[in-house]
Amino acid sequence: MSGVAFDTCDVLVVGAGPAGMAAAVAAAPSGASVVVIDDNPAPGGQIWRDGPGASLPPVARQWREALARHANIRVRSGTRVVAAPASHELLLEDADGAMRMRWTKLILCTGARELLLPFPGWTLPGVTGAGGLQALIKAGLPVEGERIVIAGSGPLLLAAAATAIAAGAQVLRIAEQASFASVAAFGASLVRWPGKALQALTLADARYRTASRVLSAQGTAQVESVRLRQGDREVEMACDRIACGFGLTPNTQLGQLLGCALAGQAITVDALQATSVAGIYAAGECTGFGGSERALVQGTIAGHAAVGEVAKARTHDRERARWNAFAAQLHRRFALADDLSALPRPDTLVCRCEDVPFSALSACTGWTDAKLHRRCGMGACQGRVCGDAAQFLFGWTPPAPRPPLVPVRIETLAGLATPGDARQ
């Protein structure tokens, strides 16, 4: 006996962020059995992460209530996707055990991760992602009285700063890599999305600087100071924590494993949010980042489409176009400057799992060479951090995913070899 449980559903939604919640809620009135799986302890995704340090916006509560209202939606939090052991099946793992879930339609709402770029000192305890800091604070990380510097790119820096300040931290600087002209143009464009303009005003902060870079983090056992370049001058500030995020990268591993085509770094979808694989849909940040409003409308369309309600799905076309245009503004105005690839020094680690320095990679011919000869990307994160970094630094194509998608227990792997199953 493998000890792996079996279950089935009509619609399986992977990810319980805005896209996944909207997809499940749109599919539910059809009467289909809907299962939503998510690796976090509670639904909401990264943007609506709950916890002792979080204050959920009313819209997040409404979506959570909508999810709970439908008896035919089952939410399985704390559950990861491990592999696709057979057609229309996913192998899942939670804290208690493993399960094979059979689905008729699959909706990928796997979100995005932060692009984390290496700079000297980035492995010191006290350095986190910008969204990472926000997530940790919401999950109860005490930061009261800490001096924090936030750097990188995009509106998430301001959101992270607001969360840190609300938790009692002293934010010393918010360093945005984009130019003043670019950020100003983004601000001006918000007239087309009044809700976003209002949000921008509430997040405005006097410590915000454009055309700024993190240069290095200093410290022995943990962060003690940060060096920044602001325009053409360098400053060093004593601080307790540094949070750096350079935008978002779509989580496409599961989509790629299932054979879904990508365009650039995102999963390709058509007007009904269908991927290139029959029966599989995708919505939200895994189709390219663009915020929660875009994720909600894409999820709604995918949910309707997955249960065959094409006419209902099409009523949301205009709203999706409006938020796709917002996403395009984000991508254009916060495009990363090329000189960020000059941040690592020869001894700066690029692969944090296997401690591979920049100098060991600069002579490699590509990702496979780096992996085979330098062990870059061979560690526990399986190249999710260094693969994205290497793509930015060297232009290498990111690693192709292989099962298991995440480190798992040996008992779970037994689920890949159930007797009688001849596929894969």
């Binding site: 992602g129 940790l136 990380l141 944090r352 401690d355 994160c381 951090v385």
Partner: protein
């Protein structure tokens, strides 16, 4: 339900707000909350905060789990040195 949870981190009794993640609890015991030692012996702490980087992996009640995606439970035993 109590608004606090008590758990053990490397044998030390720690009290945190109920619902806190283990990653948050690590910070209460030790400086910036180091979770593991890298392959060349450097201290590492929760980094991505969302289950991607694997820097916060620890032993929780004998099983390797991610501190950032595990909610503290009463009496939980967390080992960072395993």
């Amino acid at each position: 339900m109590s608004d606090q949870t008590q758990l053990h981190i490397d044998g030390q009794l720690v009290r945190v707000k109920a619902g806190s993640s283990v990653a948050a609890a690590l910070r209460v015991v030790d400086g910036k909350g180091a979770a593991r030692t890298s392959v060349t012996g450097q201290p590492r702490a929760p980094f991505c905060g969302m289950g991607v980087c694997q820097e916060c992996r620890v032993q929780i009640d004998g099983r390797r789990r991610l501190a950032c995606q595990t909610v503290c439970a009463e009496g939980m035993r967390v080992e960072t040195t395993a």
